[in-house]
Symmetry: C2
Subunit: 252 residues, 2 copies
């Protein structure tokens, strides 16, 4: 059977076709020009100033009270000079952050259970899948709340039109003092923190209202790439996490 | 509407449910123990020995004759000590490679067209999507052929049972002498080489027959991570590219 015949053969299967369309659509991201978005500012957001030892202490006491801490962060992309740019929050002219933040205790509290329960037999697998899906939904709801608090007029106004899509990467902190890893290191049963990055597909236009102690900057992927010194260990990896996608530069 | 009501609401939509199942299933990878696979050896594979300048010359003459060169490589995972391990080919006790290789001219010749044609209006978008899907299919067929030549009894015997799945990353070489980037750098219209990594889901058991001038080694993700010196600039990034997946450690 030749190449073409085989392709046609696949096209006859309806389920394959649906799945195929999803797979293809999921890999194409429409990017709109930076100029099609509106950026305003609002009152400063209170930021917990802390050094590393404060952060470790807070992580410890939070872990004792609520267990694993989950952070959800959004990768928002726009087009400028035909190249994808990520929208990054800058604090004090130096620290770069992705919009997002820590979920409330309970908002994604079961995540760790779902990870450990994945060593399972096939009977309980279905319910584990379901749990996992529900947790992903909760993460996404949490991220919407976080985006509202960081990029909208106020915490109660969800940034409209954005579609929080797939998880593109996940980092784990095995111990309070340790770095984060893109996998759960061997023999770590009780990770302390998990950071999940989600790709958010922006609509053709949108209004961002940014607390005035932050700047929202569009930074080209080619500048972020491997620039850990400026953007930190996670943001600097975004170009790799996005490398499987094709970007559709939309002209308006 | 509460969290539960919203979830139930989504469940009533059949298309959403199908899409959701795909999304969840696509993020879970079953890993089987290393011991459930059989490893044999066969005659050595002829390897083009070359230094960097030979490689650049060959890339140049190939580009002049056939245009963009596409390489497809497979990430194969097994379980050992409850941690994911990648199967890597080792040559001369030092150089690590993913199983795969260069596609034949024409096997994925249209890829570059599809990338440039992605700056399109919505009318031609559908055909671009279709083109892209067909090209992905061709890449996958090419990778199956490459896996047969590297890991099977002979080039004509496809490694059975393996499911070549999604693309997890893509690297571009903008010029003959340059490094590869996980994006097409701005203003590069004619990249010279593209390397695509695919996740291959292994069946519960499999026979690998490896040319005797290569070793096939199971290397833990935690050892590959950020170890560019040993594993090179692309393989060392695999743990990040896989971080969005959950691994199901299957006990047999």
């Amino acid at each position: 059977m030749g190449e073409e015949a085989r392709v046609l053969d696949m096209e006859t299967s309806e389920e394959n076709a649906t799945r195929r369309n999803h797979l293809v659509n999921d890999l194409i991201v429409d990017l709109y020009p930076l100029s099609s978005y509106y950026f305003g500012s609002r009152d400063a957001l209170r930021v917990k100033d802390e050094n590393i030892s404060d952060r470790v202490d807070r992580l410890k006491s939070n872990y004792a009270a609520h267990g694993l801490r989950t952070c959800v962060e959004a990768v928002l992309l726009v087009e400028l000079f035909k190249h994808p740019h990520a929208l990054l929050l800058q604090y004090r002219n130096s620290i770069f952050k992705l919009p997002g933040g820590r979920l409330r205790p309970g908002e994604s509290g079961l995540l760790y259970c779902s990870v450990t329960s994945l060593c399972i037999n096939s009977l309980s697998q279905i319910s584990a899948l379901k749990t996992k899906f529900l947790l992903n939904l909760l993460d996404i709801e949490g991220l919407k709340r976080k985006l509202a608090s960081k990029l909208s007029i106020n915490e109660n106004v969800v940034v409209p039109g954005s579609e929080v899509g797939e998880c593109i990467g996940m980092w784990w902190r095995p111990n309070f003092e340790s770095l984060m890893y893109p996998f759960l290191p061997p023999n770590v049963k009780h990770p302390k923190e998990c950071t999940k990055l989600f790709l958010v597909r922006l609509p053709v236009n949108q209004q961002f209202v940014v607390p005035k102690n932050f700047k929202l900057l569009a930074v080209p992927l080619c500048q972020i790439h491997e620039n850990e010194k400026t953007y930190g260990p996670i943001i600097s990896q975004i170009p790799k996490l996005l490398s499987r996608f094709s970007f559709n530069m939309m002209e308006l």
